[in-house]
């Protein structure tokens, strides 16, 4: 039996699986677990559906852990589910959100890579699929989506950290997520993905400097979201379109989700700004999660109010 799960610590995959079971067991009326597929190494991909409503209600899809070494990301998804179940009935906003919408939370997207970063290589980023005609392992799942997938030449080298895979959605993990989102498109009104580091709140596009049609709306939400985040510990985030705020990227989940019809899509680059980078100490997990939750709750409130 895996050791004790803790929201103040980084948890390995076994602990996270046990935690998902515990959450379903403790909150059967609010949390259910959906197996949306399996990974290249046959690990399960679990989405937790969090909310009181039936599947027809508005929903937000959130994923964490697409890049293996970005450990603060899965920590936030666990914290979100914990706070949702803990403050339902106590916190007015969270109660309203959970009564009227659902959250589909994928605590770890890149399970094989996450396990590898715990057991073999803390600096690992990609998944663990084998590449034909190459000794190099892994695809960058956030270059594997069908969103201008082949627009950058240097994502075609299997040995590169940003290898895009042999074709869009070639990876089992990507396909499981896109299939789930496509089959829930009617209800999913927003998509939020969590990465680290650099303290940014980003929106489409990454593959072009062209702005999305509702960029003013996205910009406003991102501004207020980062303002909300800063109220807790004055942590400063910048925000804007990926291509100009961060740098141009092809094949990202954010652009794909936007293009498939979800018109409010955001990517968080969580703490910090480089002092620790991917090695954010556990003592900073809680404060990072608390401040991020403020932004996510604002975004969810906005989605509840402004989407049909």
């Amino acid at each position: 039996i895996p050791g004790r799960h803790s929201y103040a610590k980084y948890n390995n995959w076994d602990k996270i699986v046990a935690w998902t079971e515990k959450m379903v067991h403790k909150h059967p009326d609010m949390v259910s677990r959906i197996k949306i597929g399996t990974t290249v190494e046959d690990n399960p991909l679990y989405v937790l559906k969090v909310g009181k409503g039936n599947e027809g209600k508005k929903a937000i899809f959130m994923d964490c852990g697409i890049h293996a070494r970005e450990w603060i990301s899965p920590a936030f998804c666990q914290w979100f589910v914990y706070q949702a179940t803990k403050t339902y009935g106590k916190n007015k906003i969270m109660t309203k959100l959970l009564d009227r919408m659902n959250f589909y939370v994928l605590p770890v997207f890149n399970v094989d890579g996450y396990i590898w970063s715990w057991t073999q290589n803390r600096m690992w980023r990609k998944n663990r699929s084998k590449n034909q005609n190459s000794k190099c392992i892994g695809t960058d799942l956030n270059r594997n989506f069908n969103a201008s997938w082949n627009s950058f030449q240097n994502t075609k080298n299997p040995c590169a950290n940003i290898y895009r895979g042999p074709k869009p959605e070639s990876e089992k993990e990507t396909k499981a997520v896109t299939d789930f989102i496509r089959s829930h498109l009617k209800s999913i009104k927003a998509y939020i993905t969590f990465h680290s580091y650099s303290q940014m709140l980003l929106f489409p596009y990454g593959y072009t400097s062209k702005l999305p049609s509702n960029h003013e709306d996205l910009d406003k939400v991102a501004k207020i979201g980062t303002d909300a985040l800063a109220t807790r510990y004055e942590t400063r985030y910048i925000y804007g379109p990926i291509a100009s705020t961060y740098y141009p990227t092809s094949g990202s989940s954010l652009d794909w989700a936007y293009n498939v019809g979800i018109k409010h899509t955001f990517a968080f680059e969580l703490r910090d700004k480089g002092k620790y980078g991917f090695l954010l100490p556990e003592s900073l997990i809680k404060s990072t999660c608390k401040e991020t939750l403020l932004a996510v709750k604002f975004i969810a409130k906005y989605i509840l109010k402004h989407t049909s």
């Binding site: 610590k9 803390r122 980078g277 556990e282």
Partner: protein
């Protein structure tokens, strides 16, 4: 298999002031094993951008010499990555 260790590996933060210096970073990436932390890959490197990359102990001296020779702004964010990896677990079990 024993886990990979990162003893005395370093993370550099470099701010190329112009395209010439940005190209120096790209050249160094051709001849050394640089793991880009920010941005994710070499081809995103441009002038006036903050660049973080990890490099092995062995290669870090030559990297540092190259940066010094070209009068480039840099700092070392992490001096021993393995130490930081072990230090990240700084919360006791509940």
């Amino acid at each position: 298999i024993a886990p990979v260790r990162f003893d005395r590996e370093k993370v550099f933060r470099v701010k190329p002031q112009d395209e010439k210096q940005a190209n120096i970073i790209k050249d160094l990436a051709q001849t050394n094993q640089l793991d880009f932390w920010y941005p994710d890959a070499t081809h995103h490197v441009t002038a006036n951008m903050t660049i973080d990359f990890r490099v092995s102990e062995k290669e870090s001296q030559s990297i540092q010499s190259a940066l010094d020779q070209n009068n480039m702004h840099y700092e070392i964010l992490i001096h021993d990555l393995q130490e930081e990896i072990e230090k990240q677990f700084d919360v006791k079990e509940d």
